[in-house]
């Protein structure tokens, strides 16, 4: 029946390709434009928050935490309003995760405070005695890569028209200006709310540790 095809590797390969490519076209394309639309009032991440998202990626929080609240009563009771597509419009990449060894974090900004996060990341058992999450003390020492986060903001503004103001512009000079006038004050606010003297002192010296950026990001998740 198909013997002729098995003697013709070229046609065989074309056939296989069409058969496998088919589903992707039909499933992914039709909804593409609509799914990309943000909900009303959604603001893009600030550079500090983007730097925090990078820490979230770097320490790979998605290995254990999801950011997707499913439309079940048990989930909305536990985590809040179920997730909407438009809320993720500025998430590149998406960080839904696929495993909940720990709880969902999509609205963690609603019910945790910066000082809770600070204590938790320094020593999870100090706030949740039975926690199996490792401590992330290095985040208090490592400096956040805000320059790369800024580069990301510039890129998404240019390539995807993400609505940033004129303060996001290419080049080192623009970055340094942004860092002093916008990023550091924002970091200072978080550092104060963390109630951690060492972190506050670091930010005062003009250095932003990873933990500050991460908490800025977690605070944005609401």
């Amino acid at each position: 029946m198909f013997h002729w095809l098995e003697k013709n590797p070229f046609l065989f390969s074309v056939g296989v390709f069409i058969v496998i490519a088919f589903a992707g076209l039909i499933e992914i394309l039709p909804n593409f434009a609509e799914a990309a639309r943000p909900i009303k009032g959604l603001k893009p991440y600030t550079v500090l928050q983007l730097a925090g998202k990078e820490v979230y990626k770097k320490d790979n929080c998605i290995a254990c935490h999801s950011q997707l609240i499913r439309p079940f009563k048990a989930e909305t009771d536990r985590y809040g309003q179920y997730s909407l597509s438009g809320e993720y419009a500025y998430d590149r990449p998406f960080l839904w995760g696929s495993k909940r060894t720990g709880p969902d974090l999509h609205r963690v900004g609603n019910y945790r405070t910066p000082d809770w996060h600070a204590n938790h990341m320094w020593n999870p058992k100090s706030v949740v005695p039975d926690s199996i999450m490792p401590a992330y003390k290095h985040q208090f020492k490592n400096i956040a890569d805000t320059e790369t986060a800024y580069a990301e903001a510039v890129t998404v503004k240019k390539v995807f028209n993400t609505p940033y103001g004129p303060e996001i512009a290419p080049g080192k000079a623009a970055y340094e200006k942004y860092y002093k006038s916008i990023l550091l004050p924002e970091a200072m606010k978080i550092a104060k709310a963390m109630k951690n003297k060492d972190v506050e002192a670091m930010v005062k010296q003009g250095k932003v540790p990873e933990i500050v950026a991460l908490i800025a990001y977690l605070e944005k998740l609401k």
């Binding site: 013997h3 003697k7 590797p9 065989f12 390969s13 296989v16 390709f17 058969v19 496998i20 490519a21 088919f22 589903a23 499933e27 909804n31 799914a35 990309a36 990626k57 770097k58 320490d59 790979n60 290995a63 999801s66 499913r70 439309p71 079940f72 048990a74 989930e75 909407l84 597509s85 438009g86 809320e87 993720y88 419009a89 998430d91 590149r92 990449p93 998406f94 696929s98 495993k99 720990g102 709880p103 949740v128 039975d130 199996i132 999450m133 992330y136 290095h138 490592n142 890569d145 790369t148 986060a149 800024y150 580069a151 510039v154 890129t155 995807f160 290419p170 080049g171 080192k172 623009a174």
Partner: protein
């Protein structure tokens, strides 16, 4: 035209991938046992500072076992079996052989880059596609080289009709190429930011729900085209060869091949049930997942029936044991997956340990078992020696089988327990358990899983030793065995 018997096959490349299979297998599975133990005993998170936490090591585990161990196993089987079914030796074309060496060299570089970047936390953060754009480009080059070699060999073939295994290798090549390219579309920030920031950093071309769709279209089909399609290629060659039995049904192999090709891609949506992707896509994902049982079981049953009338080999030959149990685990896994893809079951199963449980009965029971069997069968021909120890192979089989059973049974219980506890409410409709209650209850199952993983790792070491001894100290063979691999 050369006669079949006179053809001396060139095994240089096969040997290289044999050793990377062993090395990546040991590394990847050791990390696996470590992270499994970390969930049971969290103090183990602090062995290597920030580089030793569960979260940092978990993608390293998945990537090393997928792209290291499994891909090496696939390439070893390809370079061994493809020339034989095409009746052409790689050595006949010095150009293709050089390209194969180049492919291997680049593969080592990419693997090293992958390990280092993931330890450092440089990641695009998409599951099973964590590598950043410079490594992505390298992988595309490696993959294209494989395609050139594959179609080069096909162009030189003496056997006109392509054997079933080759259908699957071709599908693996095309499927991964398409999926990998689209899922890894990303914009390097360095080119747009006026040269600031880390040079290797990129942002995904897709955002939010779209990104999730593309990612799980990939994530699911990486399972299809890395863990299923090429492994079926392996079993279609090695089971008939080792048993001396003809494939049971050509029609069944046709039906299951084209069925699998058509259906598999649709099923990706089952990773996104109850998420923000449109309902109709979720339903498609569910429905096609259930349909997927047909072509999956088609291949598995075809393989089991190939043993018809020769079941005594199961007691006599440990390699047949590995392959028959592998087909059986493939059946288990491809029944379990569709069950989890039913929306109401998924509501409980998703986000729980049942999912890693499902993955591991597939990869440990099916993928790795096939790779072990293929490597051992090839070793007797490649090194022209007897397998060093039959009893070691038998022991490996039973130890690893026990390991797999402990692994998936404990994760079934853990997953369903957790899923039920998350949704449990008291008589007033309030949630009964705080989240941490649903974590603490898992401790015994996490411990059992770690023990299961450890047993499997012990088996991996036995395999490594046996293969090494076969290559260096196995009894020399006068002539190539036709079917059953001789063993001491």
């Amino acid at each position: 035209m050369q006669s079949n018997a006179a053809l001396e096959y060139d095994y240089d490349i096969v040997k290289l991938y044999m050793w990377t299979t062993v090395i990546f297998g040991i590394v990847g599975m050791t990390i696996g046992v470590l992270i499994a133990s970390q969930l049971a005993f969290p103090e183990l998170n602090y062995l290597f500072g920030e580089y030793g936490t569960f979260s940092r090591l978990r993608p390293l585990h998945t990537n090393v076992v997928i792209y290291g161990f499994t891909v090496s196993g696939i390439l070893l089987s390809f370079y061994y079996s493809a020339p034989r079914v095409l009746k052409v030796s790689l050595g006949e074309s010095p150009l293709l052989k050089k390209l194969a060496y180049l492919q291997f060299g680049l593969y080592l570089i990419a693997a090293t880059g992958m390990v280092i970047s993931e330890l450092m936390g440089i990641t695009a953060s998409k599951e099973y596609a964590q590598m950043e754009w410079p490594l992505d480009i390298l992988i595309v080059v490696i993959w294209v080289l494989w395609g050139v070699i594959m179609f080069g060999l096909i162009g030189m073939r003496r056997e006109k009709a392509l054997y079933i295994s080759l259908w699957y290798y071709i599908a693996c090549f095309l499927g991964v190429a398409m999926l990998y390219l689209f899922n890894n579309m990303e914009v390097p920030t360095i080119f747009f930011s006026g040269g600031i920031g880390a040079w290797y950093h990129s942002v995904s071309m897709y955002a939010g729900t779209n990104d999730a769709l593309v990612q799980w279209w990939w994530g699911h089909n990486a399972v299809a085209f890395v863990f299923t399609v090429p492994i079926i290629a392996i079993i279609y060659y090695f089971l008939p060869k080792e048993s001396g039995q003809a494939v049971y049904s050509y029609k069944l192999s046709l039906l299951s091949f084209w069925g699998l090709m058509f259906v598999y891609l649709w099923a990706g949506g089952h990773h996104l049930l109850w998420s923000t992707v449109p309902d109709w896509m979720q339903t498609m994902g569910s429905v096609f997942s259930v349909v997927l049982i047909l072509p999956s079981w088609g291949s598995a049953i075809n393989m089991l029936l190939t043993m018809k009338g020769e079941w005594n080999q199961l007691t006599e030959n440990p390699l047949i044991k590995f392959m028959v149990l592998a087909s059986t685990f493939y059946m288990l896994s491809t029944l379990e997956g569709p069950i989890q893809a039913v929306k109401s079951v998924n509501a409980i199963a998703h986000f729980t340990d049942w999912i890693p449980g499902h993955v591991h009965d597939g990869v440990l029971g099916w993928v790795a078992f096939m790779i072990f069997a293929a490597a051992m069968h090839s070793a007797t021909r490649v090194f022209k020696r007897e397998i060093y120890s039959k009893s070691l192979l038998e022991a490996q089989f039973w130890i690893q089988t026990t390991g797999v059973v402990l692994y998936f049974t404990s994760m079934w219980i853990a997953g369903i327990t957790q899923g039920m506890m998350w949704r449990a409410v008291d008589e007033y409709g309030n949630l009964m358990y705080s989240f941490i209650d649903t974590v603490s209850v898992l401790h015994p199952y996490y411990t059992i899983r770690a023990v299961g993983g450890l047993l499997y790792l012990v088996g991996m070491f036995m395999f490594a030793f046996n293969l090494y001894k076969t290559a260096t100290a196995g009894r020399k063979l006068e002539k190539e065995p036709q079917f059953r691999s001789p063993m001491a």
